[in-house]
Every structure is written in structure tokens, then in C-alpha cells.
Symmetry: C2
Subunit: 353 residues, 2 copies
Amino acid sequence: MKICVLPGDGIGPEIVSQAMRVLEVLKQDGLKMEFEYGLLGGGAVDETGTPYPEATQRLAKEADAILLGAVGGPKWDTLPREQRPERGLLGIRKQLGVFANLRPAILYPELANASTLKPEVVSGLDIIIIRELVGDIYFGEPRGIEERGGERVGYNTMVYSESEIRRIAKVAFETARRRNRKVCSVDKMNVLESTQLWRDVVTEVHKDYQDVELSHMLVDNAAMQLVRNPKQFDVMVTGNMFGDILSDEASMLTGSIGMLPSASLDENNKGLFEPCHGSAPDIAGKNMANPLATILSAAMMLRYSFGQEEQALRIENAVKKVLAQGYRTGDIYEPGTNKVSTTEMGDAVLAAL
Amino acid sequence: MKICVLPGDGIGPEIVSQAMRVLEVLKQDGLKMEFEYGLLGGGAVDETGTPYPEATQRLAKEADAILLGAVGGPKWDTLPREQRPERGLLGIRKQLGVFANLRPAILYPELANASTLKPEVVSGLDIIIIRELVGDIYFGEPRGIEERGGERVGYNTMVYSESEIRRIAKVAFETARRRNRKVCSVDKMNVLESTQLWRDVVTEVHKDYQDVELSHMLVDNAAMQLVRNPKQFDVMVTGNMFGDILSDEASMLTGSIGMLPSASLDENNKGLFEPCHGSAPDIAGKNMANPLATILSAAMMLRYSFGQEEQALRIENAVKKVLAQGYRTGDIYEPGTNKVSTTEMGDAVLAAL
Ligand SMILES: CC(C)[C@H](C(=O)O)[C@@H](O)C(=O)O
Ligand SMILES: CC(C)[C@H](C(=O)O)[C@@H](O)C(=O)O
């Protein structure tokens, strides 16, 4: 199994190196893995002038899976658009066609206090948001800023085709079959034609999944219901733009976004695995960041891209164990627990393995 | 002062009639107001075949302000798009040019328990979301669903011009001057050119408001920060689509969306005033709905369209008083308070006036 490792910017390198320690243990225990490192994001811009260099493109295409830290930082925010770190991220997603972004929002019982929501509202929360990742207004053309009638006008295109909607709907229904068999599809069909088509196609695909319950919800209502009663959901499926907003809202419900992994899969389960959180430039290089979301992303990689369910569980159980043992990085620390650094958290996970 | 009253669908007529009782008292006390009733939404479709009939258009144009209940219901959801109640709402907003939608999210101390967030996170919450209401992907062209390469494709256009952004930015800064002088502008400039222009223009307009603090936030982060620490905000300004999502999320933080009014203003403070909540078809006609958001919308009308600050405060204080007295409709009821019907709540407000 060939794995392309892209540490990225900010805290990226620190958290990825903890995940690599975990994978090295599994390798020593017999799991066949080869690692190749590449540049993506701001660091890539600094070294090569572009956020997704050719060399990385080659590595990513040849790999069976990609493990990514995080990209971006204020240093690169004023560069021309094509050179910004985010373009690297969007570029690799699009080029690899990893259209299905799976973002679980799980509340770890040990971290229940970290949520800003009342315990009874979030205890036991376990939902997954499936976000379409390579279409929608993120990539739609035409787009740009131009002069019209003597003033600047900025525009973008929200667009979805039947086949794009169909394939992500299937992922949602398949995922629901392995869970509680409930899919809530989110759109804004009362205003946007593109999401009217979304609702129509999801409803059509549902005919092949009659054992799964399908509901539809408008995006404004979904943003409310996530706050009002998030446990009503099992699988939520939506487009790239709405998914960006709702999945971040959902992960914050758990109060510990530093704990949440994500998987982005193509049609053959080749995938890009990254934590839900960003590059946190403010704490970069300080050995303070929480490496658990990246370690859990590595577990998702083993599960989804390599079918190694047992090894995935081994990692996930190790993470649960260190939480039970009281180890906490600063972001999830509370009095009475044991505050540790990034590397110490890595040590603890290794010991628990 | 000419007021066009549009009760609308579902609980609309019930809640509007309580607001009208309040306005009638003020009229008897000497405030010069004339009321004319019109049809909008599903009821208008049933009677005239269109959700925003000519007669209503005439009334709305001649009026100085419009008081609206709510529109929509499952009965009309399967009609062709042009006949759906929402088109009436979008039509009247656009025709009147009420581009500035002011949506306060205030936590009433008496209702603190209704929030799903921890008391320390939301106590004293008082933020206002200013949503651009007549532009963006809501109205952008081209739009539609069509056949391309043998499959259906749905598309919409997100678009903002400099002048549209400029005028809403001004409203945000002016509003902040009457509050805590902080504006947070929300965009997705790292992906969308239309919102890159948004950020640029808001930054330019800020030059004339150096006494106000301006920050920028990406929409995914804003959705998180509203859950993590909503009290960090004072005035939030954003486009139509993001504003739809974030303002609903924000209002749910208070746990009592049945309490929240809204104002939509044009350049001359002519406005459309409506509760933030919807038409709640499930409880329509049952004398159960909470009329306070509509009563508070009438107060906003007096403040913003008619400059009657004193009368607005009189209504708002009456609402505070009935809450302090323990009157609650079902949506905000908790044990130990006095559960009342829509009309009884109206009675209580009248008595408190
Ligand atoms: C960095 C940005 C381009 C990206 C996105 O909007 O997709 C991020 O917010 C995410 O959710 O992974
Ligand atoms: C009913 C719908 C068209 C409307 C909107 O999206 O603007 C509503 O959600 C609102 O926020 O007033």
C-alpha cells in the first residue's frame, strides 16, 4: 500500500508526524505500507511557486491513499488566488476526484464538558455528514470579478449534474445501511434550481434503498436543527458549499474539533484523509496541537482505502484509551486531567497501541 | 402612516391579528396609522392563481411599511415554482428593494433555559445579523435546470456588484455605531470570487467608519463561532445566502425563535416587517402560536420606518413585562410558568401596554 504523506503548513507537520509514528508501529507489526512525502499548500508555494506542484501531483496519483495535515496561513493570504494554499487543497481534491467527503461528528463521553451545548442535547452524539467535494459553486464556471456598467461585479456558478448527485447520494445511502438507516438530504430547493435537481435525484436514487429512511431539509432549517436537536440525525448528505458550513457547525457541537477526522473518497475508495481542523498558525511549532484528529484520520485511511477494519479499530481504541487515561492537549484540557504536549500525546497513543 | 398588512398562511393570520390589536391601541392613543389588508403567499395563489397578486403589489408600493405574518405550507409545495408561496415573498422583497434585513438574536433572561446552549455561553446574548436581501444567488441569472450531454444539470448564479455591497456595508457600520461598534463581515473569499469582492468593498467602506472595528470571517468558521462563543459578535453582516443560514442558526441559539422579529429596509427606511419564524402549518388555526415575534416586528416598524422610538419601546417593554409575569405560549413554556394561548398572550400584552 502506497501512502502519500503531505504534512502541509502550520501545525500540519507536528500532527502528521505523530500519526506517522502510529503507522510505523503497524508497519513493524506486519502491515505492508510505503510512505512518500510531498509538498502541498503554503510550504509548496514557498519552495516551488505553486501550492500543488507537479511532483506532488505525481505522488498523489500513484498513491493508494493520501494523508494530509493542514494547509494555509496568514503569510500566504495576500498572494494572487492561484498561489494561495487553499488552491492546492482544492486542486488535489478535484484532480483525484475524491467526491465523497465523510465527516463524522462524534461526542467522546470523556470530553462531554467541552461542548457549549447542554449535555442532554449532545451526549452520545454520533452523526456523519457526507459532503460532495468536487462540484458545486467551488468549481462552477463561469466565475470571476469584472467591470460591468462602470463597477466591479463578482460572480460564481452553483452547478450540479444528475450523475454528480447520483453518486454522492449512493454513498449516503450505503453509509446509512451500515448505521441507523436514516438519511437527511439538505438543499435550498425553494429558492435554488440546482438544489431542486439535487432533491429530485436523491429521491430517485432512494428508490433503490427503500430500507433506508429519507428526509429532506432546507439548509436554513438544518443549521437550526443541528443546534436544537442534533441527535435527530444519522447521515446528512449535502452539496459542497452547504456541506462546508454545516459540517463545521456540526463538528463544533462536540466542542472538540481537534478530535475529528475526515475521509474524502473517490469511486474506488482511494482517498484523501485529513483532520477537520485547520492549520492553526497561532500555535504552530509549539508542540501544543492535538494530533488525535490526524491519528484518527489515519485510522479512517486503513478502514476505507485499505479495508483494514481491525487495524483501524486498534488505533481508535488506543485513542479512546488515552482519553480514558486522562491525557489532554490544551484544546480539550480541563482541570483534573493531565495536560500533555503533541509529542506526549503521541507517546501515550503508542503506549496504548 | 400607511401600513399594508399581509397575514399570509398557516399561523400568519392568528399572530398578525394580535399585533394589530397592539397597533390599534397605539392608534387610539393618537398615533396616525391607516391599515390596508392584502393577500400574499399560498392564500393568494388559492384566490388569484399567483403568490404576489397585482392588488397586493399596488398596496405594498403605496404603503409606508408592510407588516407580514408568514407564508408557505405543504399544500403548495408541489405547485410549479412560479406559484409557490416563497416566490411571493421573494417577489415583494425584490420589488420593494428592501435590501437590508436586520435580524436580532437576543436572549431574554426569562427564557434562558429554552436555549440548548449552556447558560454561560448565551446569557446576555444580543447580536444582530444584517443580511443582504435582494441580491446574491437568490436572484442571480442565469439559473435553471436543463439537459446537457444527455443528463439534467441544475445551475444558479451567485453575484454581487460593488454598489450592492457598499450600501449593505454602510447599514452594518451605521448599526454598529448605535451598538458596540464592532462589525464582523462574513464571506468565503478563499473560494468564491464574488465574496472576494465582498471583502474588498466592505474593507473600502470601512475607511469612512474608522470608529467601528471591522473583522472578517469565513462562513464555515462563522457557523462554528456562533456555536462556540456567540457573544464575541456585535453586528454580523453577510450576503443573502450565507445570511439565510447564519441568521437561522443564530436565532436558534436563543432557543426561542418564536420571539424574534425582523426588519427589511430600503434606502429610505421603508420596510417589510416579519417574524423570523415560519408559517408552522402543524399548529395553524389552533390558537397556540406565539404572537410575540410579530408584535415585536410591529415595534421594529415603528422604530425604523416611522421613527417612533418611544412607541417601539412601549411595545418592547410590554413584551418584557408579560414574560416577567410568567405568560408563555407552548413553544417557550416550562413548568412553573403560565401556559397561554395566542389570544391570551395578546390580552396580556394589551394589559401590559
Ligand atoms: C480551506 C478551504 C478551501 C476548505 C473548503 O472550503 O473546502 C476548508 O474549509 C474545508 O472544509 O476543508
Ligand atoms: C422562505 C424562504 C424563501 C426565505 C429565504 O430563504 O429568504 C426564508 O427562509 C427567510 O429566511 O425569510
